[in-house]
Symmetry: C2
Subunit: 140 residues, 2 copies
């Protein structure tokens, strides 16, 4: 999609790690949980309004990201959600959860506790993404 711009709130709260085929891949700057966000390049606000092709592409990216989070972090459950009550630009949270994490069993949305990443740790995560996703992932 030409002229697509990431929402400024997402850019403020997250590291923009790179691009997949349909979506930008962001990392919420909160190392308390592995909290990734897919932002499909679309002006639609709902998954159900995407074209069938984009839906299928997005689903693939959710699968690939889910596998990455499961294999790279100590988590027991994934939380996958499209909410958008505050930031209306369509974005899908893929969050790895663990009974020992900071807000289990509550959801992460609405929590204010944060522990920012070091640049070094973000670099490590980006490298791990490159290794696991290969040419499906184009880092920024």
């Amino acid at each position: 999609m030409n002229g697509f711009e990431l929402d400024s709130r997402l850019v403020k709260d997250c590291y923009v790690l790179g691009k997949l085929n349909v979506s930008f891949l962001l990392l919420m700057n909160n190392s308390l949980v592995p909290w990734f966000i897919l932002v499909p390049q679309t002006s639609e606000a709902e998954i159900s309004d995407l074209s069938k092709v984009d839906q299928a592409g997005l689903l693939k990216e959710i699968n690939v990201l889910s596998a990455f989070v499961k294999s790279s972090f100590d988590i027991t459950k994934l939380n996958v959600a499209a909410i958008g009550n505050i930031v209306s630009q369509l974005h899908i949270h893929v969050v790895g959860r663990n009974p020992s994490d900071y807000c289990w069993p509550n959801v992460v949305w609405g929590t204010v506790e944060r522990k920012p990443y070091s640049d070094k740790r973000v670099e490590e995560i980006t490298k791990a993404l490159c290794k696991q996703l290969g040419d499906r992932f184009l880092p920024c």
Copy 2:
């Protein structure tokens, strides 16, 4: 899937409205927002662990249910989420939201305020589902 049983907590909190091809369709007994739940007949706990066929079937059901919620209730946003931190059986929330609703812009998960449905209203919703979804929906 033979021998599939709905989680007892879901059954306690919701009306079981009927079945789609992949999923049971439930209605959270909270009329403050239109809050539906799809429960795919599977023992997997994550969407990403479903077969490609079941994923595609589930996505269709999310689309159909999203369209129903958008056309039948006064809502401006959908919240679509697979969480499962408390009830591990895979289930996908499809919640219609509106800036005037009881917890906007916060998420509904974790809120305790409830307004139960009347049986008559549940019957109306079930009839509307039958009308819009046709033979894709088998009411209980």
